[in-house]
């Protein structure tokens, strides 16, 4: 069975959505999400009832934004995250997000077709925090290959 890569990253905003200090982030969100959706290897991303993004969902705390998505491969996600206009958002994140300690993003393999829940994603983040990078929860810096399964 083919594996896909799930990713979660979280961030605590410095201000509420209607605050001008974070207008630069929210104003660019639709463009960046459209680039993600059109990227080779993109499979799925979490959206709220608006259907556009997940900014109204707060599974990890009242001011913690969540970004949960699935990709065909680590390289596909890497190309989008670091080799597209998304890189500029990453560069500027301190203008909009508070520091979140050393563990704010996690990667893990899922069977193709599986849609991860925020509960599952939170468990993977906890696992990474507890055990460091393992096959069940890892990072770009210490990646693990997709599991090899028979058939």
């Amino acid at each position: 069975m083919t594996s896909h890569l799930a990713q979660l990253n979280v961030g605590r905003m410095i201000a509420a959505k209607d605050d001008p200090r974070v207008a630069g982030f929210y104003g660019d969100l639709d463009r960046i999400n459209a680039i993600a959706d059109a990227s080779p290897g993109f499979v799925w991303r979490l959206v709220d009832d608006s259907g556009a993004d997940a900014t109204s969902l707060r599974p990890f705390g009242p001011d913690v934004l969540v970004n949960l998505s699935v990709w065909e491969s680590l390289d596909a996600l890497r190309e989008f995250a670091f080799r597209s206009p998304h890189l500029d958002v990453l560069r500027r994140r301190r203008e909009w997000f508070e520091p979140f300690g050393d563990v704010y993003a996690v990667l893990w393999w899922v069977p193709a077709g599986h849609i991860p829940t925020t509960v599952e994603a939170g468990e993977r983040l906890d696992l990474l925090r507890r055990a460091g990078a393992t096959a069940g929860a890892f990072t770009f810096r210490d990646p693990f290959p997709a599991p090899v399964t028979a058939g």
Partner: protein
């Protein structure tokens, strides 16, 4: 052994071959090199293959068109991995990763970018845009209205910490060249482009 790989560059003509391949926008053939350097095709092939054996170049094959179609042509490009020799041993890369971790965890990106901007203005020195970029190791080439940068001087740590390193890199170039720089990532090379004068 990295010293042995670098030693093949000791021969001046071979070093000129290496520099020609490294500066080329696309993989080059033996004929390209022979013509560019005004040397025989066999000599060019000898230098290219020595450089490839040493791991400084990598090779691929391209299907020819025209009268010699069918016989694939061997192409050469600079190998992507880094070679460095430091005597006595130095490990700045490890320290750079530690600094980058600390910057991310503490949220010190604004201080990092300010420091990079200052460093850029110190490093800029004399000369026009292209000269400054070349001196700083970016390997610029003109592409329409902008300079694109074939080389990322911070590639290793840019891969482990893309946000902060590309941010620091942009700030450094802003310090050196002014505000006409921006992030515009491509599959290869530096993530920054510079508007031409």
């Amino acid at each position: 052994m990295e010293v042995e790989s670098l030693a093949v560059l000791g021969e001046p003509q071979r070093r000129a071959v290496y520099e020609h391949v490294a500066a080329a926008a696309a993989p080059v053939s033996r004929d390209d090199v022979a013509e560019a350097l005004g040397i025989g095709r066999n000599l060019a092939a000898h230098h290219l293959d020595r450089l490839a054996e040493a791991g400084l170049l990598e090779t691929s094959f391209a299907q020819r068109s025209g009268p010699r179609a069918g016989r694939p042509s061997k192409l050469y490009r600079r190998a992507p991995h880094e070679l460095s020799v430091s005597l006595p041993p130095r490990g700045y890369r490890v320290l750079a990763e530690v600094f980058a971790d600390a910057v991310e965890e503490a949220g010190a990106e604004p201080a990092l970018y300010a420091a990079a901007r200052k460093q850029g203005s110190r490093l800029a020195g004399e000369g026009g845009t292209e000269e400054v970029l070349r001196r700083l190791g970016y390997e610029p080439y003109a592409d329409g209205d902008v300079w694109r940068l074939r080389n990322c001087p911070f590639d290793g740590v840019a891969r482990t910490h893309p946000g902060v390193v590309c941010g620091a890199n942009l700030a450094l170039l802003e310090g050196a060249l002014g505000p006409r720089v921006r992030i515009d990532p491509r599959p290869d090379g530096c993530c920054v482009v510079v508007d031409r004068d």
